[in-house]
């Protein structure tokens, strides 16, 4: 009985593990003349209304442009464990994908180890600015402080209480750039406004993000923003309390159409398109990209359902124009 039991357990466990990892779609065999094939590994779900979704949306867009016969992509999402992600990256590389995108700055060290083993495969990772000097690695980052600044300008114009709250994840990367840019935008518009910033120390702790939003509202905030996928908790609280929200990374309007004013969205398509043409012409990597308002990899999206006064919208448009032509200095991340 005991041995039989252990066998059953083993089978159950195998079944469970395969369910847990079932989101990756199997790949077609490699062909040299076939479509351009891209594989992506993302840390959170592709429908997170934030970081991972921004990459998924870009690839879906490119597939729409090039056609399914010319461009294929597969995704492994929810890879918050870096070891699992590394295994997936190696798998995809050995299956002959043209380009393997490791969509998370936490995957850098893994990529540095894997990329030299597959000189015929291109790799990309971000958000980061470093290709490690490896010839088949691309890097991409986002000047998220730009849209942060624009959101800050708009937030300051709509603010009445004199206090604005920011729910940050971890004080690194594009999240920190966004938050710093946002604060700069508020201060440039109205230096008297208090901007309270907190970092919850996690990209995934929705409960803590929600409690942080409650705390900001308790401290008097009537406008809030935040970055990364855990902000859905904060948006929920903002919606319940009728506090305005500014988003970043993806369009968060659908989450709370009543209170979302504007979102900065990342459109990685500009970057991925260029990588594809480089790879097709034989350059496997070595280039570092950044999406910005200027190259339209960053875009401001306004919630059509929110009655934004025309003069406030004009302030936002002026900030976008100023950042692009260089007349506005954000003072964050070399911008």
């Amino acid at each position: 009985m005991k041995r039989f039991g252990k066998l059953v357990i083993f089978l159950v466990m195998v079944a469970m593990l395969s369910t847990a990892c079932a989101t990756a779609t199997p790949a077609a065999p490699a062909e040299s003349t076939g479509p351009f094939r891209v594989a992506v590994v993302t840390p959170s779900a592709i429908n997170d209304l934030a970081f991972s979704q921004s990459m998924y949306d870009a690839l879906a867009k490119i597939q729409g442009e090039m056609g399914k016969d010319k461009f294929e992509f597969v995704l492994s999402d929810g890879m918050f464990v870096v070891d699992d992600a590394a295994a997936a990256i190696r798998d995809y590389a050995s299956q002959g994908y043209n380009l393997v995108i490791a969509h998370g700055s936490q995957y850098g060290a893994a990529l540095q180890e894997i990329a030299p083993d597959f000189p015929n495969v291109s790799f990309a990772w971000g958000t980061a600015g470093d290709t490690f000097g490896i010839p088949n690695v691309f890097a991409y980052e986002a000047f998220s402080q730009e849209g942060g600044y624009v959101n800050g300008v708009l937030a300051a114009a709509l603010n009445k209480s004199g206090t604005i709250g920011v729910v940050g994840p971890v004080e690194v990367g594009d999240a920190k750039l966004y938050v710093d840019g946002f604060v700069a935008g508020v201060k440039a518009t109205n230096p008297d406004i208090t901007v309270n910033v907190n970092y919850i120390g996690s990209f995934g702790d929705v409960a803590l993000a929600s409690e942080a939003a409650q705390t900001h509202i308790g401290a008097g905030a009537d406008v809030m923003t935040g970055s990364a996928q855990m902000v859905v908790g904060a948006v929920g609280v903002a919606k319940e309390k009728g506090v305005l929200w500014f988003g970043t990374q993806a369009d968060q309007t659908s989450l709370a159409p009543e209170i979302v004013v504007a979102c900065q969205i990342y459109d990685w398509a500009v970057v991925v398109r260029d990588m594809i043409s480089l790879v097709q012409s034989g350059t496997m990597g070595g280039k570092a990209y950044a999406v910005s308002l200027e190259n339209e990899g960053l875009k401001m999206v306004y919630n059509a359902g929110f009655a934004l006064p025309a003069d406030v919208k004009a302030l936002g448009d002026a900030a976008v124009k100023g950042i692009i032509d260089g007349t506005v200095t954000i003072g964050v991340g070399g911008k």
Binding site: G5, I9, M16, A20, N198, G201, E211, T215, V235, S254
Partner: protein, 310 residues
Amino acid sequence: MLADLFTGSVLIGLLASGIRLATPYLYAAIGETFGQRSGVLNLGVDGIMLMGAFSAFYVVFKTGDLVGGVLLAMLVGLLMGLAMAFISVTLNAEQGISGIGVYLFGLGMSDLLFQKLINNVQTVSGFPVAPIPFLSDIPIVGQIFFTHNVLVYGAYLLVPIAWFVLNKTTLGLKIKAVGENPEAADTLGVSVAKIRYLTVTIGGLLSGVAGASLSIALLNVFQFNLTNGLGFIAIALVYFGGWRPTWVLMGSLIFSFVNALQIWVQVVGIPIPSDIAVMTPYILTIVVLVISAQRVRPPSALTKAYERLE
């Protein structure tokens, strides 16, 4: 700056915040306490919470029925608890490994169902704040303790109930006997398997409610890995609380209050690096409970499968 931190309204907000934050930990940890007292360590709590959170969210998303949401979360939690009991009690499997299996199942399955049935992050109208009549009118205390939603009250009610069951009833005595010395309990006619099935199933049911308290009461959203490992912290709180409901409550409250405090400290702009601030709840909870629970030892039969010598 420090004066800012301790004005009356700030302090009230902070304490109320801590009370709310502790809610999912309490459901999950009290449920786990029953299981561990009877000798079964269920590491699958987080996975069961995710399944409970999704089930409740789905019902409310489709029908708006909050009570139905909680009931389905309970049912799903109960079934997953039964599955864990079957694996660890009937099949005598290694508890640590089978618990991780249950966790991975819940993590993967809740996301799969979410992708197939809803597919993008949405919000719902969850349990509204329901101030308790009269009690909520008491100045300060009312705002801190009696102005929450129903599932928050439920979590705190659970503590005295669990204490009573474990310490004042025959069933509680049987649970403890099975956890301390299953052979002796068996000799006296207590069915070890039945008791363990019962406690692990109760634990699963409460973990389901813990998940529902997140998805339809406190956060009102669902996304991949909504719990973010909260169930594992709940298991740690059971250990640190020395397997006693009242101390589990203390641990949950310390952890949650310090978490609320570190958010406040950052929000009011006291210049402490955020990395240090977010560490403090973990450090303080460990320190306080290690000191307070020093003389408590775990149930002797914890994690040990029991086989009758027939």
